[in-house]
Point group: C3
Chain length 213, copies 3
C-alpha cells in the first residue's frame, strides 16, 4: 500500500469518526435535518478542505470525491435513526473525536508531503486537517472554539503530525509511521481527558480583566 | 447568449439582490458606514469568492471584476439614501434574498461546470455560492447561521443547483435550464416562507439537553 | 532593495507588531498556552494567508515561510514572560495594531501587484491583509468584528493600500511609496483614536429596531 492509498483509506475512516461526532453535536443542538447534515459534513471535511486550499490541491478532495460526502451522509443517517444506541456509548463524541483527530493529523501531514511541501507546512497542515472541522463547527455554533480555551486537543494533533513527518523524514516505512503517529496522538488525547491534563493558563492580575464580550 | 455570458449576467443581478438584502440587515444592526459597505459586499460576493477558491478560479471574480464591487456599492448607497422606501416594501430582505438565492445557485453551478468539474462538485458549489454570503454575514454578526436552524433555504438552493446540473447534463438549452432551475429554487423558497414549511428537527429526549453554549 | 525584498521585510515587522497585539488580547481573554500561540499566529498571519489564497500564491507565505511562525512564537513568548512591562505601555495593543495595520496594508497591496493583478484587486488585498487577522480573532472569540461597528480602522488600511497602489502606478520609487503609504495609514488610524473620529452610523428610526441576536 503506497502513501497515496494509505492516506485515502485513513481519510475515510477519520471522516466517519469525525462525522459521527459532528452529527451527535448537531443533534444535541436541535438543528434541523439540513443543519445536521451540514454540520456533519463540515466537521468531517472542513479541516481537509482548508488544508487542500492551502496546499493548492483544488478542487478539495472533500468536495470533489463523492466518498467523503457519502460517508458524511451515512454517519448523519445512522445518528438520526439510531440516536439512542449511539448516544448511550459512554461519551461517544469524545472517543470518536480522538480517533478522528489522530487519523486526520497523520493523513493531513501525509498529503502535504505527497504534494512536495516542506516539513513545517506538513506539520501545520496535519494539525489544521485535524482541528479545522471542529473550529468551523464552533464558529458556526457561535461559541469560542474549545481548542483555544481548554484541554489538550490541538496539541495532540500537533504531536501526531510531527511524529508522522519526523518518522517519514527519518526513513521509516509509511505503514509503521502512520500507526505510531496516530496512536501517539490518540493516546495523548485520551490520557489528557482521563487524567484531566491541561495546558497552563496565565492569570492576568496586572490588567483590569474587564470582560470584553 | 452562451453559458459564460449567461452566468455573468445572472451573477450581477443576483449580486444586486443579495447586496440589497445585506445592506438592509447591516443597517438594522446599526453598523457604521464602512460596516454596511463591508457586510453588503460580503453577502453579495462571499459565496462566489468561496466557490472560486474551491474550483481554482483565482483571483475570485468577486474581487477582480470591478462590476461586483460597483453593484455592491450601489446597493449600499441606495439602502442608505432611500432606506424608508426600501424598508417599506413588505419583507424586502426575504424577497430579494429568495431571488438572489435562485440566481446564485444556478450561476454557481454553471461556473463549476464551465471549469470542467464533476456534477457533484457543481451542485455543491451552486449551493455554496447561494448560501455562503449569508453564512459569512451570520458568522460576522456572531450568531448561529439561520440556514442551520430553521426554514427551507439551503435546501432550495440545493434544488436549484441540482436542476441546473441535471437539466444541463440532459442536454437542455442553457437558457431554458437557467430559467427552470432559478424559478424552481425561488418558488420553493417563497412557498416555504408562505406556508411555513420546515425541515424536521429531532428531539433529543434521550440526552440531558444541557446547553453547551 | 527591490519590491520583493521590501515587502518581505515589511511583512516581518508588521507580523511582529500584530503578533504582540494578538498575544496581549489572547492573554487578556485567559486562553491557555496553545490558545495564546494560536490566536497570536492567526492575528499575525491570518490576513496574509487569506490574501495569498485569493491571489493564487499557494502555499501561503504565512504557512510555508518559517520566519512568520518564528516571529509569532517569539511575540507570544515575550508577551507571556514579560506581560507586565508589555502591558504597562500605554494602550500597547492599539499602538502596535496601528503600526501593523499600515505595514500590512502596504505589503499586501505590493504582493498583489507583484503577482501582476489589477489595481482594484491590489487595494482590496492590501486591506484584507491588514484587517483579516483581526477579523479572524474576533470571529474565533465569538464577537462582532470591531471594524464593522466602530472607529476608523479598515478605512485607514484602505487609505494605505490605495496610496501604495496609486503612487506605484504614478511611477514613484518603491521605497518612498511604501513610507508615504504606511505613514498615511498609521497617522489616520492614530489620529482617529486620539480625536475620536468615527464613521457615520445611520439611525434606523423607520424600522422597529428589533434586536435579531
Amino acid at each position: 500500500m503506497n502513501v497515496h492509498t494509505a492516506y485515502t483509506v485513513l481519510d475515510l475512516v477519520g471522516t466517519f469518526a469525525f462525522a459521527i461526532s459532528g452529527a451527535v453535536a448537531a443533534r444535541q443542538k436541535r438543528l434541523d435535518l439540513f443543519g445536521i447534515v451540514c454540520v456533519t459534513f463540515l466537521v468531517a471535511c472542513g479541516g481537509g478542505i482548508i488544508r487542500d486550499i492551502c496546499i493548492g490541491a483544488v478542487p478539495p478532495a472533500g468536495l470533489s470525491n463523492w466518498r467523503y460526502l457519502a460517508v458524511s451522509l451515512a454517519a448523519a443517517a445512522i445518528t438520526i435513526v439510531a440516536y439512542a444506541p449511539v448516544r448511550r456509548l459512554r461519551q461517544p463524541v469524545l472517543f470518536f473525536d480522538a480517533i478522528g483527530l489522530g487519523l486526520f493529523a497523520v493523513s493531513g501531514a501525509d498529503k502535504a508531503l505527497a504534494y512536495n511541501h516542506s516539513a513545517e507546512l506538513a506539520i501545520l497542515m496535519g494539525m489544521v486537517s485535524a482541528v479545522g472541522g471542529g473550529v468551523l463547527r464552533d464558529v458556526l455554533l457561535s461559541r469560542v472554539p474549545a481548542i483555544l480555551e481548554r484541554e489538550i486537543y490541538a496539541s495532540a494533533a500537533l504531536l501526531g503530525a510531527a511524529l508522522e513527518v519526523g518518522l517519514t523524514e527519518a526513513g521509516w516505512s509509511s505503514i509503521w509511521t502512520a500507526w505510531v503517529a496516530t496512536i501517539g496522538c490518540v493516546l495523548l488525547r485520551l490520557s489528557s481527558l482521563y487524567f484531566g491534563w491541561r495546558l497552563p493558563v496565565f492569570h492576568a492580575r496586572e490588567s483590569g480583566n474587564r470582560s470584553e464580550q
